[in-house]
């Protein structure tokens, strides 16, 4: 097929695949949002090509259907006393905090990091029923009350994005 320049409808026909010189189509020539998924070779989007959107100060990010949410809080300056040193050895004192998040289709996995100086203080179990796609109630326990009072806690929730 011969190359035809049509001046009435401003089209060029007959151009062969690969007929343009290498490197001639620049970014401005491509229309916005014109590169569809089918045009990208499988396994060719590398990490370096992904925007670093989870920057300092941001709290959430969706990556290919997976959602990550981060947060922090300070435990209360008061605790509950389970009874005595021997009733629940090592876990006499406890407290709980309910965190909230959004954007999950299923109940996410939540991890906590408790910062303190008490070796026996620990992140305990989640409440048996107060975990959902929007909230999570977490217990903290210690043999000494100081291990879980006024301590900074950071958390990360990972799950399926809604």
């Amino acid at each position: 097929m011969a190359l035809v320049f049509n001046g009435s409808n401003n089209t060029i026909t007959g151009l062969a695949v690969g007929g343009l010189p290498d490197g001639i189509v620049d970014a401005d020539t491509l229309a916005s949002n014109s590169v569809t998924t089918a045009k990208i070779l499988d396994n060719n989007v590398t990490g370096a090509k992904t925007a670093n959107e989870m920057t300092s100060g941001s709290t959430s990010l969706n990556i290919g259907g997976m959602r990550v949410v981060q947060g922090s809080f300070t435990t209360s300056s008061s605790v509950a006393d389970a009874g005595s040193d021997t009733t629940y050895p090592g876990a006499r004192y406890y407290t709980s905090t309910t965190i909230s998040y959004s954007g999950f289709a299923t109940v996410p996995v939540v991890t906590f990091s408790l910062k303190g100086g008490y070796h026996e203080a620990f992140v305990s179990s989640a409440h048996e029923s107060e975990t959902s796609t929007t909230a999570h109630r977490q217990y903290f326990a210690s043999h000494r009350s100081g291990g879980i009072t006024s301590n900074p806690v950071t958390w990360t929730a990972i799950g399926v994005a809604s």
Binding site: A80, D81, A82, T87, S145, S150
Partner: protein
């Protein structure tokens, strides 16, 4: 001084430093170091908030 209360007005935690309390916390006239007794499944909260004042939860 701030505290967090549940739907029944019972205090579930005190914060001596109100600036570190969660957004839902309300002002309390005093704080205690122990807010509850008993294991989690049978916890008795010791205080409630009535008109901004902390009272024994009897």
């Amino acid at each position: 001084m701030k505290c967090v209360i549940n739907a029944k007005g019972e205090i579930t935690g005190f914060w001596e430093d109100g600036s570190k309390a969660p957004p839902e916390a309300v002002t309390c006239d005093k704080v205690y170091s122990i807010h509850g007794e008993g294991p989690p499944e049978n916890q008795k909260l010791l205080y409630k908030l009535v008109d901004g004042k902390v009272e024994a939860n009897t």
